[in-house]
């Protein structure tokens, strides 16, 4: 039976009744009294028996880890004088991950519909599954089967509601919704190697495909012949093109490649892009199709995941050597910064705003990067606090074991090491923004990974990041 703890609490806690450990925990966590614990309120617990206070401390710490009690964070500080301990309610820490769903064993890539009610994803095979959220449950409403090999890129155009898919079978299909069916149109890319990535242009009239054939295909729709034509950028790349990203002006495109370089090209196509584009701030736009504007030699190993900032002034991409590169004033004389990562490499990045970038990768935990007033980028923190707190800078049980064998001494697993306690269990390889309309600020995005989960994150409750949004 639990020893009675003398406790002054600013609620109706009836301390004269003896309470069991469960009841006490239940009091704190499971009933509506929890709302009475105002943020910032201090509670003083007094007892003549320091053991009881230590028990209380332990209880309160356990409560803070349970989901239901997350409205308060408690810690007890032992003051040796008269066995008094202060319990202070800390600010609540909101989880950034607001929804998690396990769609398959492994998700290669995903894309959202323009109204964000449906998501199209590839469960690591040659099909595209489209899921719709119907009353809190995800239901599969379509399966698109046309490709022969794994589909590595899916994009869903906001303006035209068309889905484009590319696959290792060197083909691409554009899917149009006709009634309740999705009808594919083959796009002849003229590739002799796999396609690796795809993205619709901002206006939705072109899309770019990066391939293992060291080329980038820019495809556009030709009305007269009712088909999609592909124009190839054959020059410059020395190796596979891993990622493509369109500049907001619908003409410039940035690519990353396994030769370590990031390049910016012009994709001006007569008849598709209006007339002669006027010169704007970044880059010269009167370049002809396939002309390289800038080549960035910042990385010595594979580069992935390039993205433009919302204004198109900055670029970010990652290297497989655990580095992330930020480039401002993309043009003839860009300002480049390399940020060194402590842990495993990233696979994809995304600009939340001009000053906030989220990177995802092999750490299974999104990383937040922010630019300060002078434009200097740096790592802020991991987004998934639960994971970051429990691993506390260590590498998870698999690595600790491996290092133990390597170093020959027995390494005790840290007790708070429950393995992958965070949201994602495996590498996150895709991050997609979720933006309701053009006018609102983007605060939420979704990630999918090799664990087959898709997680939706929202930054609006992350108080330390709000200033960057």
């Amino acid at each position: 039976m639990f020893h009675q703890v003398g406790c002054f609490v600013v609620t109706d806690f009836n301390y004269e009744n003896k309470m069991t450990v469960e009841e006490f925990r239940g009091y704190l966590g499971y009933n509506n009294e929890i709302d009475r614990y105002l943020i910032g309120m201090r509670v003083l617990a007094v007892d003549d028996d320091p053991t009881c206070l230590k028990l209380l401390d332990g209880l309160l710490r356990k409560c803070q880890n349970q989901e239901k009690a997350r409205k308060c964070m408690w810690f007890a500080h032992d003051n040796a004088v008269f066995a008094v301990c202060w319990i202070k309610c800390k600010r609540q820490i909101e989880m950034a991950a607001i929804a998690v769903h396990q769609f398959a064993d492994c998700i290669t890539c995903h894309a959202w519909s323009p109204d964000q009610s449906m998501v199209a994803l590839c469960p690591n095979n040659n099909e595209v599954h489209i899921y719709k959220l119907v009353e809190e449950n995800w239901e599969r409403i379509h399966v698109l089967q046309k490709h022969d090999q794994i589909i590595v890129g899916i994009d869903w155009s906001k303006s035209s509601n068309r889905i484009v898919t590319v696959s290792h079978d060197r083909n691409s299909y554009v899917w149009n919704e006709e009634g309740s069916l999705w009808v594919p149109t083959l796009v002849i890319l003229r590739l002799n190697r796999a396609a690796l990535c795809v993205q619709w242009s901002p206006k939705g009239n072109k899309f770019a495909v990066g391939s293992g054939a060291k080329t980038v295909c820019i495809c556009y729709y030709e009305q007269e012949n009712n088909w999609w034509v592909s124009k190839l950028i054959r020059k410059r790349h020395d190796s596979s093109v891993t990622s493509v990203a369109w500049h907001p002006n619908n003409v410039l495109i940035a690519t990353t490649s396994t030769d370590g370089k990031c390049r910016v090209f012009s994709t001006f196509i007569k008849g598709v892009d209006a007339g002669k584009p006027k010169k704007s701030g970044s880059g010269s736009l009167d370049a002809k199709f396939g002309e390289q504007i800038v080549q960035l030699d910042l990385s010595f190993c594979w580069a992935f995941g390039v993205k433009w900032s919302p204004s198109g002034n900055s670029l970010a991409y990652v290297g497989h050597n655990s580095m992330i590169y930020f480039v401002d004033q993309v043009g003839p004389s860009p300002l480049a910064q390399s940020v060194v990562l402590r842990d495993l490499p990233l696979r994809d990045v995304m600009f939340v705003s001009e000053k906030l970038v989220i990177g995802v990768g092999f750490d299974c935990n999104p990383m937040v990067f922010a630019a300060d007033g002078t434009g200097l980028w740096s790592f802020v923190r991991y987004l998934d606090e639960k994971k970051a707190a429990s691993s506390s800078g260590r590498y998870g049980s698999q690595f600790t074991e491996a290092f133990g064998k390597f170093y020959g001494s027995s390494k005790q697993g840290t007790s708070n090491d429950k393995g992958r306690a965070g949201v994602h269990d495996n590498c996150i390889n895709c991050i997609v923004p979720l933006k309701k309309s053009e006018s609102t600020k983007m605060t939420s995005f979704s990630t999918s990974g090799l664990d087959g989960k898709m997680v939706i994150w929202d930054l609006k409750n992350q108080e330390d990041l709000v200033e960057y949004l």
Partner: protein, 141 residues
């Protein structure tokens, strides 16, 4: 014709006749390293050895010469646990590359020492440091 190359580009590789100059610098460094080791300041000796490492040269003689100097400093370190309090983070990546070169020699005392330092360096610098040492095939030591 390219419109413009980024300012942040790789430095040009050193030519063969410059290799002699580099080797002379390394020899000067070695003398300084020896004196620091005699003064029981092995961590500073290591810093001197790592400074100005010539990874941008393709010349194997320069790399070997620098490796010998670094190896001398590494073997002189007795208190591996304390060495990182004096070593700046900018040296971590280059040190990791040399550790892997040391591990590749297969020589027992070298490997023992390199392994001990590798353990501490990984704890300090993280897995990213290992990634950078392994993935950089251009600037090798």
């Amino acid at each position: 014709m390219e419109k413009g190359k980024a300012r942040a580009k790789m430095a040009d590789h050193v030519e063969a006749d410059n290799a002699e100059a580099i080797i002379t610098t390394i020899e000067q460094k070695s003398r300084k390293i020896e004196s620091l080791i005699k003064q029981y300041r092995p961590v500073e000796a290591l810093k001197t050895a790592l400074e100005g490492s010539p990874p941008k040269t393709r010349d194997e003689r320069c790399k070997s010469a620098n490796w010998i100097a670094v190896h001398r400093a590494l073997m002189a370190i007795k208190a591996v646990d304390l060495m990182f309090s004096n070593l700046d983070p900018e040296y971590y990546d280059i040190l990791m590359k040399y550790l892997y070169r040391g591990l590749a020699t297969g020589d027992r005392p070298t490997c023992d020492q390199c392994l001990k330092i590798h353990e501490k360096l990984t704890q300090k610098a993280g897995l990213g440091c290992i990634l950078r040492a392994l993935s950089d095939t251009v600037n090798t030591v």
